[in-house]
Amino acid sequence: MPEQLSSLCAIDGDIYKQIITFVTIVIGWVVVHLLSSNREMKKDKRSLIESVRSTILDLEKKGVSYHTSSITDIEQVEEDIISCLDMVSSRVSHIEESFSSEEIMALRKSITLTNFQTSKKTRTEYKPNSEFVLEIRAATKDLCDKLDAKFYSLY
């Protein structure tokens, strides 16, 4: 009888060891999976930020050029600017839901609130060092700074 009991205990001990080993493996796998998916998500966000940043810098060039020079295909340029701004507005909300709209609004306003999509008679060509143009540059910088801060917080 005691021999049977001790052999049963030995079997139980083996089962416990196997269960502990199995649970440890599963926990390890879950932890590695979570860390890896978190790392991938951060990587994706960083690449999204880089792409948005590049679009914003492109927008700055287009906006400044639009307001400082005479353009032949003006409607096409206007539509291009509107499309880019729309894309930035959409993508930024994918970077972070709580991403403040303040800087995006400032950039949109600096380029499209006045002297934009107007009839040719009322359109003004500003000087490159005018306050109007400096406002576009400042709004671009503020938005890029904010994206940079988000970018580096993802390391």
Binding site: I82, S90, T112, T122
Partner: protein, 105 residues
């Protein structure tokens, strides 16, 4: 509830501030769609999605103009309109124009 879908009911390419800027300006949208909807006194929904995007001048003239030009009360307008957009920035911007037009007055 009345629904105004800008892309379907007005244009996929809204552009410009005043009527002389083009056929789908903010002023045109305001006078043809918004004024009657606000005058009805009922709540209504505006769908902003589906267009190629909006210039700030269009949004300011269409929505800020309701207060600045037409003399509606800004708080009433904000209570009356439900905005639907996948870009939160448009809704925030519109609300800012409506509020600013009301407070500047």
């Amino acid at each position: 509830m009345k629904v105004i879908d800008i892309a379907k009911d007005f244009s996929r390419y809204p552009a410009g501030r005043v009527i002389s800027d083009g056929p789908y300006s903010g002023e045109k949208f305001r006078t043809d769609y918004l004024v009657s909807a606000v005058n009805s006194g009922d709540r209504f929904k505006i769908i902003l999605d589906g267009t190629r995007g909006y210039g700030s001048s269009f949004l300011e003239e269409a929505f800020g103009g309701l207060v600045r030009v037409c003399g509606f009360n800004y708080a009433d307008i904000l209570n009356q309109i439900d905005f639907v957009s996948s870009r939160p920035v448009y809704v925030e911007e519109i609300k800012e124009y409506i509020k600013n037009a009301g407070t500047i007055k």
